[in-house]
Amino acid sequence: MEYLSSDKVGIIDLATREIQEEDLDEELVKEKIGGAGITQALYNRFEDEDPVVLGAGLLCGTLVPASALGVMTAKSPVTGKMCHVPLTLDAGVELKYSGFDYIVIKGTASEPIYLWIHDGIADVEDAKDLWGKDVWASTDYVRETMGDDLIQVLAIGEAGESGSEIAQVCINYWASADRMGFGNLLGKKKVKLIALRGMGLLEIAEPEEMIDACQALLTEVKSGAFAGKKGIGELATAIGEEDLGDWIAPLVHRHSACFNTPFASNTFVFLDEDPSKVEESAVPEPGFLLTDIYGLLGLKGLGLSAADACGILKACAKSGVDPAAVAELCEKSQKKDPEEIKGSLLDLKGPVESVGQGPFSPWAPQKPLSKEFGLPEDGSEDSTWWMRRQGVAYIFGIHPIFALMSPALSEEKLIELANIGTDLDFAAETLDQVISEITG
């Protein structure tokens, strides 16, 4: 596989610590395109060994707007079904440039380990010094040990280590889109974290044409409904929760976007310092990056103050628990005291509706975020439309929330860009087939 690819699949056997490498079969790419299309195919190939498959969308890491998405595919320990979790922020792009297109992690380690994936090398490292550390300390540890703050870390906390069903795989210090209990899964496999770093390059079949096409698309995208808007508050407004923005406004320091994504869906709030201060922070951990709209809304629904809710989100990320599940369980058990909630994170149990039931994480709002898609106002087609739209996002590597915002990122346009990038002549029928396979 020559273009948009490292041409390598890594297969890691946790029990034996053996690493095998295969070339990425171009015929597989022609048939399954990329992202969840291929992670699912690899999952099926190694299904008997309970694999976790990491991969990036075909266009991830390019100049295509919102090309941020990596994918983690595995059987959810909560639902018992194979599903896909999106990897956002900079994790997807780092995976794309890590020197592997796809990584299959199979079996179970006999002792806690972590994976260090760098420039086409997959190392299995002992994690005995890490086991028991929270997510933040784990991320700090591996960045310090390996010597680079740009390392992207997918980590579990004590929740994953102890088998909590609401354990989440976090990205660096922040909550992820894992609503499938993958934190529990990695904990069972004794995988503390997966560290990613790559300094590679991707070849593009037609680079100048690609640049021109992406620039034109970006211009179109930036003139859409979300032009000039940013932050989790605006995202909340788009799903009908207009007062969330005002609720967190006193804490807001800045907004940030996932890789190359034209809408900044993440908001950094200061909890231990005045966010209006325009100078270097005197506090080592002044705040928290809000990356999960439903976790935040769930805690708001408990009647908490914004500061208390964000403090709980920070505690969730450190422990590695799904904040939406925490909010739901606390509502059911009538917990409203912030300190009591923080103290109970590892003990919360019970069925939760916020867990994903389908193939894709419900972390992204389950409806279009722009009227420009032209869907009926009554929402009758939202569910079917959303499923297909997420499929497209997970295959091509488009941010799953931004995919709901921008009709300019049409299927036709993404196929066109994929062909410019790879020279593989994908057709709409192929995309239909792959979407059908991954949506079941």
Partner: protein
């Protein structure tokens, strides 16, 4: 076919023992004969590159151009190797930039004796920048052991002009005087018409502290500094620069016994300057090489892949840390030379890109003379870099630590390149002619 590919194609014929006269070297017209010497046969040379104490990173530039041109019979020598007979069997010794005083001190009297014997016995010495200063007559300790070439330098002064920029690279103390560097970067040179510096017009080459020379007895001028370019960086006022540099010798030749010294003020080996590179190659063809059977090593296929992966692991670890250090505003003075973090990756990238090239080969040969030495050395580099990163967040990195790092980098590169060129030589010998 570009110039480097032409040299590679020619070298492929030479390595098979084909008789090719000089006038058929790339860039030369078939019917162009300068003198009766034009039909001297070319031979495939064994080239030594000095990368011991005092050498900076610019020895890698020789590696780059030799790799690109198919000169794969390379030997890397540190000061100990020179002192203990490492020059025997070589046709060429290339000494690039660095700290001339440190090189001289490291080689010492025995190194000077060995070097003299090598040249007098028919060897070719290529010295650029510090390598050019080394054999120029001097009364200073250590340097005076290497008085092979009578030439003065015009950038020696007791009254330093004002430095406009790059003060840390502007001058070096020399007794009661200073060797100063009026300009850096690209200059225009004009050849003198002496073989092999004939048949071409003015060309460009980069200057990074090398000498503008005023030759005395028995020293031939091959090229002079004829002009500045829009890329020339002036460290002093233009009049001083003009008076110091222009019309002085940029390249000279001295015969010593049966051999020769070619001294270059600019770096003719810098990979970005193809005509200068071509002239270097032609000097080698013109002066060096002899008929010699080339040895072979054992093929080690599957183990070669494991070795490759293990080296790649450690070099990747080192590159990742090194890239982060480049954003930190720090420099280190090691001897008389100033180093900054960008120099670290010069060494690492030289290994990295060759690792990637080897990875893509279906049949891979890679042999180490001592098992795992490259892996161990590269792991040490990564470890030192991580220590340095931690130190930078605290009290800073000592010059001693930085010196330790650059020694380890040098060693890693040397170990790897020895294996790499040994493998490339074998592959080259077996590849069919196109």
């Amino acid at each position: 076919m570009n110039l480097y590919e032409e040299f590679k194609a020619l070298n492929k014929r030479l390595i098979r023992g084909e008789a090719v006269p000089f006038f058929r070297a790339p860039g030369r017209k078939e019917d162009h004969r300068i003198s009766p010497h034009d039909d001297r046969p070319l031979h495939y040379p064994r080239i030594g590159i000095y990368n011991g104490a005092g050498a900076s990173h610019s020895w890698m530039w020789f590696v780059e151009i030799f790799d690109g041109m198919g000169f794969y019979d390379l030997v890397f020598l540190d000061e100990r190797a020179v002192r203990t007979g490492g020059l025997e069997g070589l046709d060429v010794l290339a000494v690039s930039g660095g700290d001339t005083f440190a090189i001289a001190e490291a080689l010492g009297r025995e190194g000077a004796r060995r070097l003299s014997a090598f040249i007098r016995g028919g060897g070719l010495y290529l010295g650029s920048c510090a390598g050019a200063y080394l054999p120029l007559h001097s009364s200073k300790a250590h340097l005076k052991e290497f008085n092979y070439v009578r030439a003065k330098i015009s950038n020696l002064t007791a009254a330093l002009p004002d430095a406009r920029c790059l003060r840390e690279k502007f001058c070096t103390p020399y007794g009661c005087s200073f060797v100063f560097h009026p300009v850096r970067e690209t200059l225009e040179l004009t050849p003198s018409g002496v073989i092999p510096f004939e048949g071409i017009g003015s060309f460009l080459a980069p200057l990074y502290g090398g000498p503008p020379m005023v030759p005395l007895d028995g020293v031939e001028v091959l090229a002079t500094y004829s002009g500045f370019t829009d890329k020339t960086l002036f460290l002093v006022d233009k009049d001083t620069a003009r008076n110091t540099v222009l019309h002085k010798a940029a390249a000279v030749r001295k015969t010593l016994g049966a051999g020769h010294l070619y001294l270059f003020g600019p770096h003719f080996e810098h990979p970005g300057f193809p005509i200068a590179n071509q002239l270097l190659a032609e000097v080698i063809y013109w002066e060096a090489g002899r008929e010699r059977p080339l040895g072979r090593t054992d093929e080690k296929g599957p183990q070669a892949r494991t070795l490759l992966r293990n080296v790649k692991r450690e070099v990747s670890n080192a590159r990742i840390v090194a890239a982060g250090l480049e954003t930190m505003p720090v420099q280190w003075k090691i001897g008389n030379k100033v180093y900054d973090p960008t120099k670290i990756r010069v060494f690492l990238e030289a290994v990295w890109k060759r690792l990637r090239r080897l990875e893509r080969r279906k049949a891979l040969r890679l042999v180490e003379t001592q098992e795992n030495r490259t892996v161990v050395s590269a792991a040490r580099v990564a470890s030192i870099l991580r220590d340095m990163r931690r130190d930078m967040k605290g009290e800073g990195v000592s010059p001693q630590k930085a010196a330790e790092l650059f020694r380890a980098l040098n060693q890693t590169c040397t170990f790897f390149l020895e294996s790499y060129f040994s493998a490339e030589l074998e592959r080259f010998m077996e590849e069919p002619l196109e």
